[in-house]
Amino acid sequence: MTAPIRPRAVTIAAVFWLYMGPSWTLAGSVMVLACVALVEQMPGIDYAALDILPWCFLALLVCGLLGIRGALRLLALHERGRDNVERANWAAVTIIMVFTLRTTVLGTWNRVEPIVAGMAAGALAALPFLLMALMLRKAAVRSAIRSAQLRE
């Protein structure tokens, strides 16, 4: 069988981010605006009361934009796209794990109980992004993208 120009796993990661990127960007921007509106409209509520939520939504927005940019570049066989998508994946792992830690072991705000189940759910949600980031770091994947870029 003829091998594809771009490794299959890389194509899957790029298309995945082409879908996740816009949805995260949209969700992040709407929720950041909602946080701002809430603090502006409600007397007695400030940003401290919302804890890490505004920062999480802002990070989601940035992560989504990075993912879209990386996915488009990767689909156009640019080596830089791999860097962007890998960074977006690490950012996603960080956002999910920080949110999980804050709402379980470190949290006094809206604490999720039981802690082990909360941590397990967070780790499970971060796992696909971690696997994608590790896959994109592989030397074989890097060289395959580089050689495909040179061929084009």
């Binding site: 069988m1 003829t2 091998a3 594809p4 120009i5 771009r6 299959r8 194509t11 899957i12 790029a14 298309v15 995945f16 082409l18 879908y19 816009p22 949805s23 949209l26 969700a27 709407v30 605006l33 909602a34 509106a37 809430l38 409209q41 409600m42 007397p43 689909l75």
Partner: protein, 113 residues
């Protein structure tokens, strides 16, 4: 021998075109799965596209290029339609939810005052 044309030029060209078709098949199959999972009514479009693309690898390698090309074009059209519909639905949902959230915030504000 320097002036002689390379005899396998057509074959190499055909191999390259098939590699491109394999890459496109990978991309549209993933897009079909994502449409299936993320878009409202997505399973309708995603499953149709996946069903259309079953056994596409063998078709790319063993059948005329035009046949695989036609399948990929139809699958692409189905996936784009599903994704477009999903995106419009998500936009409408976001606007509606923002509207509801703002109205709730104003009502809470009025109750407090």
């Amino acid at each position: 021998m320097s002036g002689a044309p390379w005899p396998y030029h057509d074959l190499a060209d055909q191999q390259r075109r098939r590699a491109v078709q394999h890459t496109r098949a990978d991309a549209w199959r993933t897009a079909a799965v994502m449409t299936c999972l993320l878009a409202p009514c997505g399973p309708l479009f995603g499953v149709a596209a996946l069903w259309l693309m079953r056994g596409i690898e063998a078709k790319i390698d063993c059948q005329p290029e035009s046949q695989a090309d036609a399948i990929l074009k139809t699958a692409r059209a189905i996936v784009i339609a599903g994704t477009g519909l999903g995106f419009v639905a998500v936009l409408i949902t976001a606007v509606t939810m923002a509207n509801v959230a703002l109205q709730l915030a104003f009502q809470l504000l009025q109750v407090r005052q």
